[in-house]
Structures are given as structure tokens and as C-alpha cells.
């Protein structure tokens, strides 16, 4: 086709797009919508990708993760949905690895890591009172003993009254009758009159017979990430200390995740109140929402957790306050507390405030307070449990991820404590332990050998443990050594000189991730270290696949939509062809070649595609820019993680628009191929009169 013919072709195409307005409108709308969805969808997925990249790389993973090539499982920082924490082997000499990796260009930092699971003890309310009394007795502080004794007495009386209430409901007998008898004795004035005669004996009675009567709060499971805390804070800019202080250099220490601390470690009743408050802020009411009512009823059932923590004075003050608040002249604390906690839409706000003002100061609001030393119990690699006391220094959060589950996942602990809990030791520490064992004498060692054999089976376990660097030194013998662990200091170099499970690598220029990854791989290989280097998406396990999944879903939707569009466009073009048979025949008769007719149809689609696709892309771009200003609110914790914050701010790039228009054009032209061929086949004689 010559150039002048091409000119008239576009003119006719443009004219026909306008002349067949209805058809153009239908096809145009489909192309408009298609382009809009592609632009929107891509911008959204890109924004989520970006958000998730920030969420993951700047909180835990870094840009790359290194772990042992001997790993049984793949590294999954956030756990594997099906198999729990994966077995990723370990990096025997983190320092050696770090030295190699730090020399690779574009590497900003290499941070040792290890993720494990431990049990923390929440303790028991009566135990806490008894502990205080015991401390006073030990100190021989008489006025304090008297005060603490009265407090314990008040709590024991409450426990007894509660038990009596329960006994009325449950047919008493057997063991329960024994418990009742013990509680009755502990609550009797005679017991308290004689208390001082055998303080320790009576304390033992209370500890062994009464404390267990209180429903135990149970242990709390917590995930912890062992790392170089200073380096972690420096390199992950999402990290922010919320309460307390940093763990001093060379000290063992534990930092609670703030979200975890609030939602798990907080006093059950306070936690429930917080939970209800959050839900009400989302617009739910007691009247309309069954879930919120069920939470309220469960909370009211937990009133003992408040009751047992109040000393006599506080109990009386709160009782009087509640009488006024609830407008009840009489009534005892247990009943008052229960009705107080039966909140509804009208009373919630006031009672929430009242609770925090009047009750919270008198109860232990968190199972572990900042500054407390808590016992952490974990199962070591060798298979036995190990308990370590560690001081809680504070709480932290990942900025923007406060509400996301992943953001609340990890508590932090120093690398040395992590190694102990995981059962991994440095050669230095192993030597140290060996020295202690020697000092402890043959008898003790023998006993430990027996224990090791008991826990692990045979001496073969020991051999393996020795060879792999696992600390097989556990049980009671271990406790002796570790009594003062919480205060024990270590050399800062010890953080690096030892075992880690994995290493996070942050990059100066994250866009060069692929190259740097290859360079690290080569450097490690050259150094004779058999390691796997994975990018953060792989390291995030199933989380890392999310964006890929989202993108796949988007494209599946787009392709389905385009296929539907293809059918519709094809149909309407075929109909248009039929309507224009005469005109096309005329052009052919006058001397237009078949190629001209086919090109004319493609040109019409091109005009329509560029107009409606371009318009669709611009509208979508406008929408995204507006959206990018306002932000799309995250509806739940998971979305917060995906969005890397409470709101998603998608952005638009020219390539988004260009790619979408090109794609829609391609599909539109494909849709036009058949009608174009059909039109080109129209015979020129149809232009003539319809006579034989």
C-alpha cells in the first residue's frame, strides 16, 4: 500500500469509528475497562509488592539470606504453614562467613540470626503473693511480713470463697474434697493466728496445697529471633524501641515485641478490654455483634484474675468505688467485679477508663514487666529442654507493621542466649562448660552422663553432640551453671564468634540484588563455605510467594477478561463487517486491494484502541494518583503487612500505562484479525445491483 492510500485509510478509519458510534462505544468501553483494570491491578500489585518488600526486607529478612547448604528444609523466616519452623541447619562460624560476605561490593551489613520457639512462664497469682511473703520472711522484715501475710490471707480467703461457690455447683468428693479441706484450713482464722509459729512450714503448705488450686495461667509460647541486637537495630529501619531501653552491649537481654506484649503478655482482663475497644472502634456494637458479646462474657468470667491480684486495701477501695459506680449500696467484690465487667454499648467507654484508672494500678498488668527476669524454656537441638533466665529490657515494634501478624511475630533476644536455648555453643563456651564440669567433680559428671543417656539414649548421642557443637549439658546440672546467667556478661565479639542459623544481608543498592547475590555465592564458594544464598522472597517462605500469587491471580483475571473482550470485539466487528459489505465491495470495485480492506479494519481498531485504551489508562492513572494521596486503608492485620503500613499508597509509572495500552492494543488487534480477513474476502461485485 502506498503512502497516500495509508493517509486516506486512517481518515476512513477515524470516520468509521465516529459513524458506528454504538459499536465503537461498546468495544471502546470494553477496551477502556480492560486498560483501566490492567493499569489499576498492576499498580496495586506493584504497590503491594513494594510494600511487602519493605515489610520483609526492612524488618527481618534483609535483601538476602544465607543459610547452610546442608539444610534439610528451605529457609522460611515466617514459618512454613504446614511444617512449623523449618530445619535449616546452621552456620558453624558466623564470623568467618561474615568476613567473606562483607568484602563483596554492595553489601551493607551481615547480621547473624536464628529463630526458635520457647515457653515463657506466666506464673500464678497466689504464687506471686507467696513469693513476696517468702522474700519478706527471708529478709526478716517484720512489718513487711505482717503486711504481706495479710495480703496472702485476703487472697486465700477469696480463693476459698470462690471454691465454696464452685462446690455448690459441683458435687464435691474425692480429690476435690481434699482441696476444699485444705482451702478451708488456709482460710481459717486459726491458721493465720498460728502462721508466725512456723512461717516456712506454713508457706510450704500454701505453696504446695493452695497455689495449685488457682487455675493456672499456663505457659505462653513465644517465638524469638536471636540476633546481634545492636546491628539489628542499626540495619533494620523498621525497628523502633517502644518501651524500656536497649540491651546494653555484652549483656544478655530480651526485648518483647510490643504487639505480642500487649496481646499475649498483658493481664487477661485488660487485654480483653483492649480487644473489645479495638473492635468497637471498627464500628461494631454489643447489640449487633455476637462476637463482641461473646468476648465480653468470657472477660466477665475472668474476674478472678483481677480479684486474686488485689491486696486487701486495694480490694476495699475498688469495692467502694464499684458500689458507687454501679449504684449498689451493698454487694461484695466478686459480684461487683462481675457486673462491672458485663459492659455494654452504653457503659463500655466509661468502664474502660475506670478500669485503667482505678483497677490497673493495683494489678500486675503484664505477666512479665520490663526489668523482670523471665525464664525461657526451649527444646534444644539435642532434644532436651533447657531453661534460661533472661532480663526483659523493653518492647519494640516494626514501624507500620504494628497491626500485622508478621509484625508481631518475633521477640528479640541476644545471640548468646539464643545459642544456649537452641543448644548451640561456641568452641570457647564449650571449653568453659567443660572446665565447670571438671570443677563440679566426677560424681556430678557421672550423674549428667546418666541424664544424657536418659534423655538421648546412648553415649552415641554425646559423641554426635560433641561433634556438631550442640550443648548436651542440660537438665538440673545445667541449671546450676546458669543460675546467674541473666547477669552474666560476654565479650561483644562473642556475638559473631559462634554459630548462627542464618545470616541476613542488607544491600546498599537493592536494585542490584541479583548481581550481588551471585557475587556472594561466588565469594562463599571460593572461601570453601557451602551455603545457600536466597533473596528475601524465597526466605520469606509462603509469604514471599504472596505477591507472585497475587500477580498470577491478577493476570488470570486479566486474561479471562481479555478473552471475553476478544469474543465481544470479534462479534461486533463481524456484525459491522456485514453491515458494510456494500461499502467494502465498492472500495474493492473502485480498485482497493484486499490488503487495504484488512488494513482499514485494523486501523479502525487501532484508532478505537488508542482512544479508549489511552482514555482508560489516563482515568486509571488519575484514580491511582488520587488513591495514592488518600491511601487504601488496610482492613486487617494481613493487609497491613501487605501494605507495609495501615494504608497502601499506590503509584503510577509511565511504563504501567504504556504496557497496559500496548497489551490492550495487541488483544484488540488479535480480535480484529478474523473480521478483517472476512472483510477482505468481500467480493467487489456485491457493490453492483443485486441482479443475477
Amino acid at each position: 500500500m502506498n503512502l497516500t492510500a495509508a493517509g486516506i485509510l486512517w481518515r476512513i478509519a477515524l470516520g468509521n469509528v465516529w459513524r458506528n458510534r454504538m459499536k465503537s462505544l461498546i468495544v471502546g468501553f470494553i477496551l477502556f475497562l480492560g486498560t483501566g483494570i490492567i493499569v489499576f491491578g498492576n499498580a496495586l500489585v506493584d504497590a503491594v509488592d513494594d510494600g511487602m518488600t519493605r515489610s520483609v526486607t526492612q524488618s527481618v529478612s534483609g535483601h538476602l539470606q544465607i543459610y547452610s547448604d546442608d539444610a534439610k528444609d528451605k529457609l522460611a523466616l515466617f514459618g512454613d504453614q504446614f511444617a512449623g519452623m523449618p530445619d535449616i541447619g546452621n552456620i558453624p562460624d558466623f564470623h568467618g562467613l561474615a568476613e567473606v560476605v562483607r568484602k563483596v561490593p554492595n553489601v551493607k551489613a551481615v547480621i547473624p540470626m536464628g529463630i526458635d520457639f520457647a515457653l515463657g512462664f506466666q506464673g500464678n497469682e497466689i504464687d506471686r503473693w507467696l513469693q513476696r511473703l517468702r522474700a519478706a520472711v527471708r529478709a526478716g522484715d517484720e512489718p513487711m511480713i505482717a503486711q504481706r501475710r495479710d495480703e496472702v490471707r485476703a487472697v486465700v480467703e477469696r480463693v476459698f470463697n470462690e471454691l465454696k461457690g464452685a462446690a455448690a455447683l459441683v458435687a464435691a468428693g474425692g480429690e476435690y474434697a481434699e482441696d476444699m479441706k485444705a482451702a478451708e484450713r488456709a482460710a481459717s482464722p486459726e491458721f493465720w493466728a498460728a502462721f508466725d509459729q512456723d512461717r516456712l512450714g506454713n508457706l510450704e503448705f500454701l505453696e504446695n496445697r493452695i497455689a495449685p488450686l488457682e487455675q493456672t495461667l499456663g505457659d505462653v509460647g513465644l517465638m524469638f529471633l536471636g540476633t546481634d541486637l545492636a546491628s539489628f537495630e542499626k540495619n533494620f529501619d523498621r525497628f523502633e524501641l517502644v518501651e524500656g531501653s536497649r540491651v546494653p552491649e555484652g549483656q544478655r537481654g530480651f526485648i518483647f515485641n510490643h504487639g505480642f506484649y500487649e496481646e499475649v503478655m498483658k493481664h487477661r482482663v485488660a487485654r480483653d478490654l483492649d480487644k473489645i475497644k479495638r473492635r468497637m472502634e471498627e464500628g461494631y456494637t454489643f447489640e449487633a455483634d455476637a462476637e463482641i458479646r461473646s468476648w465480653r462474657d468470657q472477660m466477665a468470667g475472668q474476674y478472678r484474675r483481677v480479684l486474686f491480684q488485689l491486696d486487701r486495701q486495694a480490694g476495699e477501695r475498688i469495692r467502694d468505688g464499684l458500689r458507687t459506680l454501679l449504684g449498689q449500696a451493698s454487694g461484695e467484690l466478686p459480684d461487683l467485679l462481675q457486673s462491672f465487667l458485663k459492659v455494654d454499648d452504653a457503659t463500655f467507654a466509661a468502664r474502660y477508663a475506670w478500669f485503667y484508672e482505678n483497677v490497673a494500678p493495683h494489678i500486675q498488668l503484664y505477666a512479665a514487666q520490663i526489668g523482670d527476669t523471665i525464664p525461657l524454656q526451649a527444646y534444644t537441638k539435642a532434644g532436651y529442654s533447657k531453661s534460661i533466665n533472661v532480663k526483659v529490657y523493653g518492647t519494640y515494634k516494626f514501624k507500620g507493621l504494628e497491626k500485622s501478624d508478621v509484625g508481631k511475630m518475633f521477640n528479640l533476644v541476644d545471640m548468646v542466649t539464643f545459642r544456649d536455648l537452641y543448644g548451640l555453643m561456641t568452641p570457647e563456651r564449650r571449653a568453659e562448660v567443660a572446665a565447670i564440669r571438671e570443677r563440679a567433680g566426677l560424681k556430678d559428671v557421672k550423674r549428667e552422663d546418666a541424664e544424657a543417656a536418659l534423655f538421648g539414649g546412648t553415649a552415641a548421642v554425646e559423641t554426635t553432640a560433641q561433634a556438631t557443637g550442640f550443648d548436651e549439658f542440660g537438665g538440673d546440672g545445667g541449671a546450676k551453671v546458669e543460675r546467674s546467667q541473666a547477669d552474666q556478661k560476654f565479650e561483644p565479639t562473642e556475638i559473631e564468634r559462634g554459630v548462627a542459623l542464618n545470616a541476613a544481608v542488607t544491600l546498599t543498592d537493592p536494585t542490584k540484588l541479583v548481581e550481588t547475590r551471585a557475587a556472594i555465592q561466588d565469594a562463599l564458594k571460593a572461601a570453601g563455605l557451602k551455603m545457600r544464598v536466597v533473596d528475601w522472597k524465597e526466605a520469606a517462605g509462603m509469604m514471599g510467594d504472596l505477591v507472585t500469587v497475587a500477580r498470577t491471580v491478577l493476570w488470570v483475571i486479566v486474561v479471562i477478561m481479555l478473552l471475553v473482550a476478544l469474543v465481544i470485539i470479534n462479534n461486533s466487528m463481524v456484525i459491522a463487517t456485514m453491515e458494510r459489505v456494500k461499502e467494502i465491495g465498492t472500495m474493492r470495485a473502485v480498485g482497493a486491494q484486499r490488503s487495504f480492506i484488512a488494513a482499514l479494519f485494523l486501523a479502525e481498531t487501532t484508532v478505537l484502541g488508542l482512544l479508549s485504551g489511552g482514555f482508560g489508562a489516563l482515568c486509571a492513572a488519575g484514580g491511582i494518583m488520587l488513591w495514592g494521596k488518600i491511601g487504601l486503608p488496610a482492613q486487617n492485620a494481613f493487609m497491613t503487612f501487605l501494605f507495609s503500613g495501615p494504608r497502601l499508597y499506590p503509584t503510577i509509572t509511565f511504563s504501567h500505562l504504556f504496557a497496559a495500552v500496548m497489551l490492550i492494543m495487541f488483544f484488540a488487534l488479535i480480535s480484529t484479525l478474523y473480521p478483517a480477513v472476512l472483510a477482505a474476502r468481500i467480493l467487489p461485485r456485491v457493490a453492483m445491483a443485486e441482479e443475477g
Binding site: 497516500t4 481518515r11 470516520g15 465491495g585 465498492t586 461485485r685 445491483a689
Partner: protein, 254 residues
């Protein structure tokens, strides 16, 4: 601008044949049977002739025009147009032949709706791509003057009367200076007065440009303008040298 009654201009008998049909047959399959639209036609049209094709509906007038106009090929026999055997030409070559040597005027004008008068007339020149923009403009303006549409150049077909539209079609057919113009019932959709004027215009162009015209018609009055009337019935030429003065033997029903 219609010319006065044209003098009986007859193409010289020794002028070279422009169209030559020899035993031309055209069969169309219709379901399981075959319909023969033309059953062996022999016809010669010489350069400069102004020939009317007459015959009732279904007699084969349009089929004959289709074969001569190279928009269809004969099933049997030969059709030579401008010295070329159309049966031997490819689809593309036939199209090229139409573009360069033929012009078409249709019963229902068949203008391109989205183009204005100027663009419609320019269209075949654009397809040819031989002339510059200025040359095209000059050529179009000259022919527009001839058909008397100088003031309608920027109008769309929908804004024109039937007669005006047919003038545009005539201008489009003639703008490439073809040797042969085929007109398929050019006056059928026009009132008789307008029809007369259109035929006068064609006749005038036949004289001044020497363009050969073959047109089909039902209208005896229109036939009177022809040098020669070729009468067709049942797919055969029944009278190839009919006088335009005598009325048709076979009256078509319009």
C-alpha cells in the same frame, strides 16, 4: 450544464475493440443446482462507444457488467478488457486493472459515507498513489467543475441529493481517466429529469474525454441516448446492434 441533444456520435467501426466477449458463460451454484446467468455471450465494444445494456431483471445485465468490469470472471469463454484476458489475471491484477483502466457508477451511488465530496473523488487517485497532492487536487477540481459540484466539495454524501451523489460517483469514476466506465442502472434511483441530466453528463464526457461507457438500464427513454443498445434476455445477447431510437422489444419491469 446538461449538453443539448448530442449529435449521433458513433465510434469508428475500425476503432480497436476495448471489450471482447467470446462465448462468455457465467454459472452460479445455487444450492444443488447451477444457475446460468450468462449462456455464451459474444460481444464487442469498441473504444469511444456509448453502449446501453437493456433487458429485464434477471436477464444477466449485471452479470455481464460484472464480467466486463473485472469484478467477476467467466466460468467459460473469454472476456478481454483493454487487451487483457481477465480469466488469466490474478485477483490482485484484476483489482489493478479496475483501478487503472475502469470506472464504476453504481445504482445506489455507493459513496464512502465518512468522506466528503472531494475525498470521495480523490479516493481512487489515492489508491493509485501516482500523483502528487497538488496534481490530485487539480484533477479533482477539474472533474468537480465538469459535474457541477464546485460548491459542494466539503459536503458529506448524506448532505447531498440523489442527483448530486450520482455526480460525485461519476466524478469518482472518471477522475483516474479510465478507458471504460461501467454504470449499473445509474438512473434507477433518480427521478426521470435528474436521470436525463445524469445521462447527458455521461454522454458529454463520452464526447469530450472519449471515454467508453457501458451502462445498464430499464428505462427506454434513457436508452435513446445510447449509440447502441445491446439487448439481453435469458443470459444471451438477443440484439447486439439495436438502434437506440427503437423502443426496447423486451420491456423490463422496473
Amino acid at each position: 450544464m446538461s449538453t443539448p441533444t448530442p449529435s449521433k456520435h458513433t465510434a469508428a467501426a475500425d476503432a480497436p475493440p476495448l471489450v471482447e466477449l467470446t462465448a462468455a458463460r457465467k454459472d452460479y451454484p445455487l444450492g444443488r443446482t447451477v444457475v446460468s446467468a450468462l449462456r455464451g455471450v459474444d460481444l464487442v465494444v469498441r473504444r469511444g462507444e456509448f453502449v446501453a445494456l437493456a433487458g429485464p431483471s434477471g436477464s444477466g445485465k449485471t452479470t455481464l457488467l460484472n464480467l466486463v468490469g473485472c469484478v467477476d470472471v467467466a466460468t467459460a469463454g473469454t472476456v478481454r478488457v483493454a487487451g487483457q484476458d481477465t480469466g488469466q489475471l490474478s485477483e490482485g491484477a484484476l483489482t489493478k486493472l479496475r483501478l487503472d483502466s475502469l470506472g464504476f457508477i453504481f445504482q445506489s451511488f455507493n459513496l464512502i459515507a465518512v468522506l466528503d465530496v472531494f475525498q470521495n473523488i480523490e479516493f481512487p487517485l489515492l489508491l493509485q498513489g501516482k500523483l502528487s497532492k497538488a496534481e490530485r487536487a487539480e484533477r479533482v477540481r477539474a472533474i468537480v467543475d465538469k459535474v457541477g459540484l464546485t460548491n459542494q466539495m466539503k459536503q458529506r454524501p448524506a448532505e447531498l441529493s440523489g442527483g448530486q451523489r450520482q455526480r460525485v460517483a461519476i466524478a469518482r469514476a472518471l477522475v483516474t481517466r479510465p478507458t471504460l466506465v461501467l454504470a449499473d442502472e445509474p438512473t434507477a434511483n433518480l427521478d426521470s429529469e435528474t436521470g436525463e441530466r445524469i445521462i447527458d453528463l455521461m454522454r458529454d464526457l463520452n464526447h469530450t474525454e472519449g471515454t467508453t461507457f457501458i451502462f445498464s438500464t430499464h428505462d427506454p427513454k434513457i436508452m435513446t441516448h445510447a449509440d447502441r443498445v445491446v439487448r439481453i434476455a435469458d443470459g444471451r445477447v438477443v440484439d447486439a446492434a439495436g438502434s437506440s431510437d427503437t423502443h426496447a422489444h423486451v420491456q423490463g419491469h422496473a
